[in-house]
């Protein structure tokens, strides 16, 4: 209890010296000179003081990487968005339907990305955007589902994310989603692997520090799908989770597994309040 209190004081001092006032929104940049993007804000209540302010991964990157994300022309992730735009209005499957036939323009889907993962009444489970996309493909279009985090699926997720940029992340954690959210929270704080590391050990206790050559962020998901300069493609959240868990030297869950869906919900809820940035550019 005493240690926890001390840590709290230390964190508060740190926040003061870093000049980060509590509960104040910081606009990092205007996307394409138009849409303000919130990259720092007060932590959601459920974090209960674990973090005072939440900061987008964007604030942890260097200037050139940040700049790439500020303009669609410079953002390599937008190439995949363009491809997905073509796929959006291309009919596929036995029903001869495209996404656009039911949903209209991709821009009309603004506001969808910030609330996912969410509890879907009809399915009786918490679903990610990719799961919903596959539900559409199988049941409405009569097409083959995409493999989880396959490049076409991530590109489509990036398209849906791109039209919601600037809107605050806002996943629901109460009601029917509560049980899954608790599972995700437990996973977040459970140490795994030979290195015995939980998500929190790096992204809560040590963000802003270096882990070898990597600058640790708070691990928010508001920027996903992420264009990573290290592999020059868009990366899905679950693939990123897998990479992290692997780095703890553990056997990982699979992308699309119920464990990762729960974890995605919990991690997304930690980002509540930050602007959607995907497709973002990171190291």
């Amino acid at each position: 209890m005493k240690t926890k209190l001390l840590q709290g004081i230390a964190a508060a001092t740190l926040a003061l010296t870093a000049g980060t006032a509590q509960a104040e929104e910081v606009i990092g940049y205007d996307l394409n000179g138009e849409i303000p993007v919130v990259v720092e804000t007060a932590a959601p209540d459920h974090l209960d003081g674990a973090l005072n302010t939440i900061r987008s991964g964007w604030t942890f990157r260097d200037e050139s990487t940040k700049t790439m994300q500020m303009d669609d022309f410079d953002n390599p992730g937008m190439l995949a968005v363009e491809e997905a735009e073509a796929a959006w209005s291309t009919a596929e499957g036995s029903e001869g339907k495209s996404c656009a036939d039911c949903h209209g323009a991709a821009e009309d889907m603004a506001g969808v990305k910030p609330v996912y993962p969410k509890y879907v009444e009809a399915a009786g489970e918490v679903r990610t955007l990719q799961m919903q996309m596959n539900d559409c493909r199988e049941n409405r279009m009569g097409a083959d589902p995409w493999k989880y985090d396959a490049s076409a699926a991530v590109a489509m997720e990036a398209l849906l994310s791109s039209v919601s940029r600037g809107l605050p992340m806002n996943v629901a954690i109460d009601g029917d989603a509560a049980e899954t959210w608790e599972e995700g929270k437990e996973l977040y704080y459970t140490r795994t692997g030979q290195l015995q590391l939980s998500c929190a050990n790096c992204h809560e206790d040590n963000y802003d520090n270096l882990i070898r050559a990597d600058h640790l962020s708070q691990g928010h998901t508001n920027g996903f799908p992420v264009y990573r300069l290290k592999n020059t493609k868009l990366n899905g959240v679950h693939s990123r989770f897998k990479g992290c868990v692997r780095d703890t030297r553990a056997h990982t869950y699979s992308p699309g597994s119920p464990e990762f869906v729960a974890l995605e919900l919990y991690v997304a809820s930690r980002s509540n309040g930050l602007s959607v940035e995907g497709p973002s550019v990171r190291n």
Partner: protein, 109 residues
């Protein structure tokens, strides 16, 4: 034959006479270096954009040679001094003989 090739340009619509403006170009292209091998061990033949030019009313602004080490989807940003209104013409030359072109008008403000 490279597939999914699409040239893109971002250039201002107007400039003051004699002003230096920033032009950004990007072409989606795999830029196969010729160094890689496929799963059977056979060399994948080189297929890259080997030259890029930018002209203003037929006058050469930039003529660049691209080499195999240049990445996928080559992005080029450069400054050009605009002396007269007219058409900026951008041309990419592919190893396979294809030529990709796009143009952008610029006025003197």
């Amino acid at each position: 034959m490279a597939s999914g090739v699409k040239p893109r340009v971002k250039a201002p619509k107007s400039a003051a006479a004699g002003e230096s403006v920033t032009i950004k170009t990007l072409i989606s292209h795999p830029m196969e270096s010729g160094q890689r091998k496929d799963s059977d061990g056979n060399t994948i033949p080189r297929s890259i954009i080997n030259r890029f030019t930018c002209e203003l009313n037929g006058n050469m602004v930039l003529d660049a040679t691209f080499e195999p080490a240049i990445s996928t989807n080559p992005y080029l940003e450069f400054d050009a001094k605009i002396d007269e209104a007219g058409e900026l013409k951008f041309t990419w030359y592919d190893d396979d003989g294809s030529v990709y072109e796009t143009a952008s008008d610029i006025a003197i403000a």
